[in-house]
């Protein structure tokens, strides 16, 4: 358990009925150089072959109480629009990670905003609570 640190801190995000669950937010890692958020997505029957996913390049993280936007810098497992990850079936699934500019390593509540005026298809998340005493230090370099 960590309070003040400059090493990467990992937070498991507990299942939460108030959070959208597809994609599901899995972990948040606060590193002095970046903020990393892991997601898991299951393709759905909404589209015949599972549809597609992508992230808006304008996606950002905001910390409640701060005016600053922490911008998306990199992705793995998902493409940045207009490119798409296209599924082949309704049973496909995808683990993916978004990297943002680093947010302060202290107790906070964050929102992940893909679209400021979202439709149900956009990946927006509100009220993800990060308590430093619930985070765990990571031993390796990321």
């Amino acid at each position: 358990m960590k309070s003040k640190t400059s090493e990467p801190i990992l937070f498991e995000i507990a299942e939460n009925k108030d959070l959208a669950d597809n994609p599901k937010v899995l972990r948040v890692i606060l590193d002095p150089k970046f903020t990393r958020i892991d997601f898991g997505y299951n393709a759905t029957g909404q589209y015949i072959k599972g549809g597609w996913i992508r992230m808006s390049p304008k996606t950002y993280v905001e910390v409640q109480g701060l005016a600053e936007k922490f911008l998306l810098t990199e992705t793995t497992g998902i493409t940045i629009a207009p490119k798409k990850v296209v599924f082949q079936s309704v049973k496909d699934w995808q683990f993916f990670t978004l990297y943002f500019q680093p947010i302060p390593q202290k107790d906070c509540v964050i929102n992940i905003i893909e679209e400021e005026n979202p439709t149900p298809d956009d990946f927006n998340y509100y009220g993800i609570e990060l308590k430093m005493n619930e985070g765990v230090g990571i031993l390796q370099n990321l």
Partner: protein
């Protein structure tokens, strides 16, 4: 970066000359001449200088060789008189055994052996070629299943380190059956291979019990700075010996299992016993009753089913039903 075999051969030549008590302090010219004599290659002084610099590097890149130029002796020497490249003298039998092992490791190494092993293997291989080139054969005489690398195998090193250094790991796991992602903290103690699939076993905080996870369903594991929850030795041994396969059927303890097996398939069980507890009682017509004492697993029931009507579960009762339901 791997060192090429010619370089290893020159290192050995330099080492032999420096260790020669009859002619101490070999000069650069003598080393170059020796390379020509033994390798048939014209070697430049710059190459030898680079070789010596590489020999001085720490393992695994080099050999930590304390080689220096002795101005008084006007030649090269080791500052540690006990130093020897490789440090071990091998008998012919040792070398032969190593060569067989190398061939075996190369055969299975395609997907099962961690990448980092390759560097060490190259060193051994080069040394053996250097000393026993006459007996070396390029033709493989061993072959095993060597399928393409599977998803998740890249985590092998991390889990190996976590087991060895007793370090908890955070991972994302995807359940194929439940179609669900979950984040888990596990305290791994064993990596297991079964039918060319790799698994990590460890205490799962979320499940509050020991669980097994296929590496193919694990994403982005991280070593955690957290207190490790150890698993007692008897549990580890149980995991190693009491299963056929990987995933135990929930809530089942070690118990007797009996199957009736046709004469045809009895041959296979005789030839390839599946568990150390296996006992075969043959009947006059060649069929048999085979008993085991183990913790029943999903893989065990699948094996039974894979033989179709040739194998029939006769004990315990619950396993008869369980196997039927898997059909």
């Amino acid at each position: 970066m791997p060192i090429n075999k010619s370089a290893y051969r020159r290192y050995k030549i330099i080492d032999q000359l420096v260790l020669n008590k009859m002619k101490r302090f070999p000069t650069m010219t003598e080393i170059i001449d020796a390379c020509w004599d033994k390798l048939g290659i014209d070697t430049s002084p710059e190459t030898i200088q680079k070789d010596m610099a590489n020999m001085r590097k720490l393992p695994p890149e080099g050999f930590d060789a304390p080689i220096y130029y002795d101005h008084k002796g006007r030649g090269y020497a080791y500052s540690d008189p006990d130093y020897e490249l490789g440090g071990v003298s091998l008998s012919d039998t040792d070398i032969e055994t190593i060569r067989e092992s190398i061939e075996f490791i190369q055969t299975i190494g395609g997907s099962r052996i961690s990448e980092k092993f390759n560097h060490a293997m190259e060193k051994i291989l080069s040394t053996s070629i250097e000393e026993f080139s006459a007996g070396n054969t390029k033709q493989a005489i061993l072959q095993t299943m060597n399928p393409p690398k599977s998803r998740g195998f890249e985590h092998f090193d991390l889990f190996y380190k976590a087991c060895r250094e007793k370090t908890p790991v955070s991972l994302v796991h995807y359940s194929y059956k439940k179609r669900n992602f979950s984040v888990l903290t596990i305290h791994p103690f064993m990596i297991k291979e079964f039918e060319n699939k790799w698994y990590v076993m460890g205490f799962s905080e979320k499940h509050n019990q020991i669980r097994t996870f296929g590496l193919d369903r694990v994403f982005d594991p991280f070593l955690l700075k957290k207190k490790y929850i150890p698993v007692d030795k008897s549990t580890c041994e149980k995991e190693a010996h009491d299963y056929y396969g990987v995933f135990p059927i929930p809530n089942q303890k070690k118990q007797g299992v009996k199957i009736h097996v046709s004469a045809l398939v009895t041959n296979y069980f005789e030839a390839y016993p599946i568990h150390e507890s296996q006992v075969i009682e043959k009947e006059a017509n060649g069929s048999s009753v085979i008993s085991f004492n183990l913790i029943p697993t999903i893989e065990l029931t699948r094996l039974f089913l894979s033989h179709g009507y040739h194998v029939k579960v006769i004990e315990p009762k619950w396993l008869i039903e369980f196997t039927e339901n898997l059909k």
